[in-house]
Amino acid sequence: MNFQDIIFNLQKYWAQKGCIIKQPMDLEKGAGTFNPDTFLRCLGPEPWKVAYVEPSRRPTDGRYGLNPFRTQFYYQFQVLLKPSPDDVVEQYLGSLAGLGIDVDNHDIRFVEDDWQSPTIGAAGLGWEVWADGMEVTQFTYFQQMGGLQLKPVSAELTYGLERIAMYLQDRDSFWELKWNDDISYADVHLESEKQWSRYNFEVADIGMLLDLFERYETEFARALKRDLIFVAHEYVLKCSHVFNLLDAREAISVAQRTSYIGRVRKLARALCQAYIKQREELGYPLLECKKDSK
């Protein structure tokens, strides 16, 4: 199965399960969790079901394209099911079958892996899912976001698309993956991976980044003050990404590092509280919609 077919299949499968299929967000971020469809929608009482591809950036993971499966840019396929359905595991296993992973004849294992992101005050319990030993998905029941306890609890499924493709295509490296019949993953991403690795580690202008962090932080506060939640959210993401770049440039001392993480977490917390308040003021429109459809 080609790389792009994996995405098609997952989209089709989760659409059938009632998820809206969204397109990636147009902003740099470390994981699909940062997308407002997860970050914000997991908060409060309203239900939400969504699936989307998320291009993810982790500057410190760059290896100049030399490592077979460690890159500063990769794709996640993210599913958020809120509240987590009673048959969520069965639904998930169904999605693997949809990818042509013959779950009956393979050893599918749920191995404890609890997840935390101190930067955004998020925590969850769950597993990494193995197919014959290969980690193919991160499966998490969200317990906290922005330091706030969540109710209802969402199930977050994060498929590592390249790893699944390695498994399905029997390859030992991202770069050998077939995107379609003619074009490989390397054709699409290898050159940019090399350039971004160089940029992240060697070139990025530290002075500019330090300055940007301050400005984004200020702009966050301006937006939040005017109840522009979705705008404020993007500035949290921008701060977080700039911080990651500074980290890759080794431009942040230890003491500063803790303080930067603390600053981002503070923004995330304020944002989550404001979002919950706003949804409440709006009268939780999605709760109504759920009642109507019943």
């Binding site: 490592n67 077979p68 499966f69 987590s84 009673d86 597993w127 014959d132 609890v153 230890v254």
Partner: protein, 707 residues
Amino acid sequence: MAKNFILEIGTEELPPSCMDEGSAGLKSALENNLKNSRIKFESIRTFVSSRRIAAYADNLDDFQSPVVKTVTGPPKSIAFDENGEPNKAATGFAKSLGVQVCDLEEIDISGKGIYLGKRMKEDGRKTAELLPGIIRDTVLSLTFKKQMYWGDYDIRFARPIRWLAAVYGSKVIDFEIGTVRSSNITYGLRKLYPEPLIIDKAENYFSLLKKRGGVIASPGERRSLILEAFSSLENERWKGKYHVVADHELMDDVVNLVENPHIIAGRFPEQFLYIPKDILIEAIQYHQKYFAVISENGDVTTDFIIVANGIRDEDKVRRGNERVLRARLSDASFFLEEDRKCSFSGWRKKLDGVIFYSGIGTMGDKQKRLEKLTCYLAGIIKNRPDLKNEKMLGNLKKASSCCKCDLVTNMVVEFPELQGIVGKEYAREKGENPGVANAIFEHYQPRFAGDGLPVSETGRILSIADKIDTITGMFLAGNIPSGSEDPFALRRKASGIVLSTLEGKYDYELKDLIIKASELYLSSFDFGGTDMGKAVLNIMEFIMARYRFLLTKKGKRLDILDAVLGSGCSSIVDIDKRYSAIEKFIEKGDINKIYLPMFRSKNIIAKKEFGEVRPELFLEKYEKELYDALLRRKKGIGAYLENGKYPEVMDALREFGSTVDKFFDEVLVMAPEENLMRNRINLVRKIVDLYLDMADFSKLVITAAEE
């Protein structure tokens, strides 16, 4: 009549770490709740596998045990009129119970007097009726260190509860938790046996699960199956030449990760065998939970073992896992190559970027403190010139300047459990001498309960210094272990200090080492108003508490330790020597000849202190004699103490005891003349001080046999 009972809590895949907790918790909660409900049973056993926690009760009685309840009414004194006829109070009470007044009994309530009342036998209710409530309470009372919410429910558990099966005899016990309703249905392996299985009778649960669900509910049975499969591979496939490295922790995990262990042997390419042995084994075990296989001479082979969970197609699963291990090993090999490009000095710089603990700086700071602390420690160990020679100090300096470096290597970032092992391998590769390389590994020991201690002197000194540094730092930063909370394993570290010190027979003042460690922190960090003297004492006590714990484990007496500590001695080795001398002396049965005179002396002075003894005030023969004996003994005992000759000290103190006794028998300490009394008390104080130089014997707990 009695029937068997099975309760199964069906869950999503439980983490191995919570399984013992769940199994033990269920057993004790169910036992308690049944006992409290007066329902008798023969035994309760619990079982746990990744998708279920189950309890099986043998012969659970059909009914609660009957109970006799006493109902009390009015006091007898007000229940009868002057003619002895029952009044309204009595008749009303009898009526409320549906009996005649003559059926009532007199109940003597102590302290209150005689009351009218009746002992009524209450028959037990049916177990089947009580079980729903009991089970609900039991399940909801279970707690886990890590628990979670799911969906929109208010229940917390280790992982979501997806079904509940409860069968008493052949009857379904009906109850609900959240939206899950109990039934007699259980489930086997997810994919191989997807059909619901009906438990017709409680006693058929295990065979049903095994035969028609492919699930082995008992962890012990799963473990034996795995071990049997290992030995048959060893004997048949490898003809006794290869052996599985059956790591304990890994085995515990694997037993609980599968419900139906299926052992598959796989292979990886020879090209990876160049990776150092310990790193290679860890790469095989750590992420993937495979078992490594070694040859007769201890080398890692290209075979490895996968424990899969009840599968159909062995070939497919083997191929998949082989690919994953290949990828893991090429990862490890990539890290090895990358690390080989770096140097210890580069890593040292990187340590400045790794936080040790918030408020007490980085691992780089720690590394620098260790260089000073190890040399200081080597310097204060008495009678050991061999620890102070140039070669030794050279090794110590080297090892303590780079023992934490491997924390920032690619390899340890990927395989954290390899800390120390990677450091040792890399030091060896970079041409460090074996003394330094081994010390880097050894300084982490003991890494877990029952782990070995450092063997080399360098490793031992470094290990003690590192642990003192960590404990001191954490205490200063206010991160002090309490109850079961000890995230930095400070207790194990403290035990390590005691054990290594004894093992190396390192005679040094622990207090001085702690003070030095604190000073090293104080020169770089600000701890606000922390009372340093108190902090040092707290750390000292914390470590001594571990010594105490170790003695208890050996069944040794703690009062002897308290006595020794009363001397103010803070060298663990010295404490140990004094301890054995006193212990041996007690065995001889003579301890009262030391204990009693000291005890008497101590009682007399009771914290009084008036200054120096003035011999010119002596009137009595025996006080003069005591004083002379004291001066004589002080000299002799002082010399013995100096040389650690504690049995001799004990003998001298015993002899001295008779002089003390004479004094007390013949001389009135509390003389009416103030100046005489004061002088005598001062003299007794000197006596106490002499005993205290060895130990505070008054802290001994003297048993009848010793008296």
